[in-house]
């Protein structure tokens, strides 16, 4: 069954692009249901930082080779002190996306054992993909301040 029939609340962005806004408790169930109904390809898990609202938006994206339809399941969680359950049992590659989002945004995924250093190494500051991390200022205060090697 197509996503629109399964979930009437889904909105169609354009042909072949469906967006479902939901809450975080329902995500596991929706993804499971979609997986059983022909949406077999998990495309990506993405995170958007809506700093004015104080929310992170997690977007789970799936694709059906059968119906040629792309579904974005979007939830919002609080920027601080919130977490999400891991879905690594449903699709193995979700694990990698969770590792990246944990490192780049600081979202905690409960139940994922491989969270931790993935791309960066020894990063001591705030997760860099957050909107309040100012990369230009950081660069000016670090890399441009490292002194040149002086020759006597």
């Amino acid at each position: 069954m197509m996503a629109k029939e399964l979930f009437p609340e889904a909105q169609e962005l354009r042909k072949g692009r469906i967006r479902i806004e939901t809450i975080k408790d329902k995500v596991t169930e929706i993804i499971k249901k979609l997986k059983e109904n022909g949406y077999g390809h998990f495309v990506m898990l993405s995170c958007v930082d809506w700093i004015k609202e104080g929310k992170f938006e997690l977007v789970y994206q799936m694709w059906s080779y059968e119906y040629r339809e792309h579904v974005m399941i979007s939830i919002k969680i609080a920027r601080e002190g919130d977490s999400m359950v891991t879905l690594r049992d449903l699709f193995p590659q979700i694990e990698t996306y969770e590792r990246e989002i944990h490192e780049m945004f600081g979202v905690n995924f409960v139940g994922n054992p491989r969270l931790g250093e993935f791309i960066l190494e020894g990063w001591p500051h705030m997760p860099p993909m957050r909107k309040d991390f100012d990369t230009e200022k950081f660069v000016k205060e670090l890399y441009y301040k490292i002194p040149e090697v002086k020759e006597e």
Binding site: L120, T135, L142, Y143, I146, P147, E148, K150
Partner: protein, 184 residues
Amino acid sequence: MTLNHDDWGKVARMMSKRSLWMVHFCTGCGAMEMPPVMTSRYDMERFGMHAMATPRQADVFLVTGYLAVKTLKRVVQVYEQMRDPKYVIGFGSCTINGGMYWDSYNTIKDLSKYIPVDVYIAGCMPRPEAIIDSFLKLMDMIDKGEAIGWKKYHKYYDQYKKNQRMAYAYRLDEVEDIKEDDAK
């Protein structure tokens, strides 16, 4: 057989400039132009250069492009594993001033702060002709005894190490313990 300015040293320099072996380490996107340089069209083996699998056997290190801090650690390790005399070519604008990534939080901006660089190639990305030209320039420098980056590294080792540690820790205040990393 050190590289002195005597006759024997002259012969040694003449030999070593005709037999520069390169580290096979693609540090950045500049590595994309290395295959054309190695193959039929540009063929750097004409000058006795070819890529070696391990740093211990190599003489010249092409830092191909931008360096993420994580790669910098491996680059320094590879550089230290190479046997003297050794030469570094900074490849592309990213090694000179950061290039496209001037405001990226994870790439170093000026390679010569961390390891001594003998020759720079400008451009993003440099054409194979430019790469060949840099090799010839390096050969010329070796012949004249000007490629002394490795001596500088020994002499100002403390300064280089200090800068490297700052970059590794992403902090200006120096951090002593460096984590054992997994580069070969």
